[in-house]
């Protein structure tokens, strides 16, 4: 019996029996387990169960009712084994084939492809050939991504050396990884910092060397209220809702004009070297707004709000003095 045959036969054995089977019953039913020595069987059976679980097969462990002791039994419940029914309209099925083109990472691309194969088997007609939409590509180049993603899937603790921004030396961290998230092209791992006892985010590019798995799988439980989407959203700056205006020299400040919501031409300016325009800009913080205008030097001046203009004057005054 090849390993593929052994795995599939074990799956069918646990799926078609009406009652859970003890480990000994499993062994008695499977020639490769019977032929193996006790230790080899233990190892083989543990690995086989883990591989089936990694495929998504829900191998359940239940306590067997018998008169002698509380023996452990194994089974696969047909209801939790099966993909719930799904019906997609033609246009819905047509777009999901694009999902395979998003990932520039072997593991994620393969997982997406496997998911589409299962949906296909459930009757969804997936179209993998649509080319009329240029799908955005999510690239994963960090060498530690795979081990962190895997550890979050099988809930294994990890350790790594991490250099926080603003500290001279990396420090060892122990983490229960909940998931890996990307915000604006940067990857982070989210989880519970074991030493601090709190949820933390770590940027993958600041991890020194390789991430190591420690201990067994299923070592922790992700808090049920954890929402990776919200955690990821909190990494990005807030929405641009504040409004400010700047005076921009005609023929310059293209960078400001491109993002402006309004431009008023030929307004009174601070000098007569050129004519000036007024641009209206939305922003999420006064500091960011002032940063953007100051970058244009003598081609742009913060006009309003007064708070932003005062800040610009204070910052320029400090800069003009600092280096002189």
């Amino acid at each position: 019996m090849t390993k593929s045959e052994r795995l599939l036969n074990l799956l069918i054995l646990l799926l078609v029996q009406r009652r859970p089977l003890s480990k000994q019953q499993v062994r008695d039913s499977m020639p490769p387990y019977l032929e193996a020595g006790d230790e080899a069987f233990d190892r083989m059976f543990e690995r086989d169960k883990d591989e089936l679980r990694a495929l998504g097969v829900p191998v359940e462990i239940v306590t067997l009712d018998n008169y002698f002791d509380n023996e452990i039994g194994y089974r696969i419940n047909p209801d939790t084994f099966a993909l719930p029914g799904i019906t997609l309209a033609a246009d819905e099925a047509a777009v999901i084939g694009l999902a395979t083109r998003v990932w520039q990472h072997a593991g994620l691309a393969a997982a997406t492809s496997d998911a589409l194969a299962k949906l296909s088997a459930a009757g969804v007609e997936v179209d993998r050939s649509r080319l009329d939409i240029a799908a955005p590509v999510v690239a994963v180049s960090d060498p530690n991504f795979d081990v962190l993603w895997q550890a979050s899937l099988d809930r294994t603790r990890v350790t790594f050396d991490y250099q926080r921004s603003g500290t001279p030396k990396p420090a060892k961290r122990r983490l229960e990884p909940w998931g890996v998230v990307s915000s604006s092209g940067r990857w982070y791992v989210v989880g519970r910092d074991v030493d601090r006892g709190e949820p933390r985010l770590f940027r993958l590019s600041r991890v020194h060397g390789a991430v190591k798995r420690t201990g067994k799988s299923d070592a922790f439980v992700v808090p049920p209220e954890t929402n990776l989407r919200e955690l990821t959203a909190s990494l990005s700056p807030g929405p641009a809702t504040e409004v400010g205006t700047a005076l921009v020299r005609q023929g310059s400040g293209h960078g400001l004009r491109r993002t402006a919501t309004a431009v008023e031409t030929d307004v009174p300016g601070p000098d007569a070297v050129t004519a000036w325009d007024r641009v209206t800009l939305t922003h999420s913080s006064v500091h960011g707004f002032v940063d953007d205008v100051l970058a244009f030097g003598t081609d742009a001046v913060v006009e309003s709000p007064a708070e932003a203009r005062d800040l610009a004057v204070r910052r320029l005054t400090a800069a003009a003095g600092v280096s002189s």
Binding site: E5, G56, A117, D132, V138, L228, P268, F296
Partner: protein, 327 residues
């Protein structure tokens, strides 16, 4: 031969239900539906004939009609009723497909967006079955949807081999430039999308950030081939400082420490009070002045002296514009 056993079982758990659902199926059709090469499916089916109901007596095994498979390339399976529905999605598959669809959603519009939304809602329902949470998540930079139409136009020009006229914003010079390019590839790096193209003005290969393309027009003229041009390797980031560019040393206050991570620097030294001293190669002094003005007063030029003086003068001159009454 145990390599790939898990994957092989995974494929069979989709193939068997597909055939049971659709009835006998041509090998090619099944391969296309599942996104698997036909020869792989044939190898998988040869495993299946040794599997079945415990006991594995002749009547217990799953039956694969090998004559039909070898003779007519038709897949016919019997005696596998208990594998009638595909296996539910694994945690890895569930997070990979839902996050891919959400990412697509961020750059889709119109009818596609509508279709994606409905498909995603249904797939999330079956994907979240039995799983606590996604294990991977992607947040797309803002502005991606606005750039989607441009991306689609450039992809079309690329696949039809046409030249494109670009109006491109160059921030270091604060200029809008006009150029004709031969598109070579669309690439993504660090959350930014770029067009890699041969620029006929610069007479060389250039990368154009999509969010800096002010206007684009696909021309009737065919793009010239550039077989000798090596594609840009994005593994080390996009900025390649030249060794003969002048070396500038800056002292950064804590508010400006991000510069050390954002730009390629030659050296970083920790200083008291959370300050950093960095050395970086500067190709364009106008770029450095803009950066320093943006950071005022959190960055200071330690050397060379002429840059320090130029920056002080620029800050003083800009400040004088705020001292004009009525401005």
């Amino acid at each position: 031969m145990s390599a790939g056993a898990k994957e092989q079982v995974g494929r069979l758990l989709a193939l068997v239900p597909l055939i049971q659902r659709e009835g006998d199926m041509r090998l090619e059709d099944a391969a296309r539906r599942l996104g698997v090469p036909p020869e792989q499916l044939v190898a998988d089916l040869r495993v299946l004939i040794y599997c079945g109901w415990p006991g594995w007596m002749p009547g217990d095994l799953i039956e694969v009609d090998l004559d039909a498979l070898d003779g007519d390339s038709v897949i016919r399976i019997h005696n596998a009723d208990y594998l009638g529905t595909p296996l539910r999605l694994s945690a890895a598959e569930a997070s990979a497909i839902t996050v891919a669809l959400r990412t697509l959603r961020e750059s889709a519009d119109g009818d596609t967006l509508d279709s994606l939304d409905r498909a995603l809602a249904k797939i999330e329902t079956v994907a979240e079955d039995g799983h606590q949470a996604a294990h991977v998540e992607v947040r797309v930079p803002p502005g991606q949807r606005e750039g989607a139409a441009l991306r689609t136009r450039l992809a079309a020009a690329l696949s039809s081999g046409r030249q494109v006229r670009l109006t491109y914003y160059v921030p270091a010079r604060d200029e809008n430039t006009e150029r004709t390019v031969d598109p070579m590839a669309l690439v993504d790096s660090q959350g930014m999308a770029y067009l890699q193209a041969w620029c006929h003005v610069a007479n060389g290969r250039r990368l154009f950030r999509l969010d800096r393309i002010v206007a684009d027009e696909t021309l009737d003229s065919a793009a010239e081939p550039h077989p000798d041009v090596e594609p840009v390797d994005l593994a080390d980031g996009l900025f390649r400082p030249e060794p003969d560019n002048p070396l500038v040393t800056l002292r950064l206050a804590p508010q400006a420490r991000w510069v050390a991570e954002y730009y390629p620097v030659e050296a970083v030294r920790e200083r008291r009070g959370g300050k950093l001293e960095i050395d970086l190669r500067v190709a364009d002094s106008r770029w450095l002045m803009r950066l320093l003005l943006r950071l005022s007063p959190y960055a200071e030029v330690l050397r060379p002296a002429e840059y320090a003086e130029a920056f002080t003068a620029a800050a003083q001159e800009t400040l004088s514009l705020y001292r004009v009454p009525g401005a």
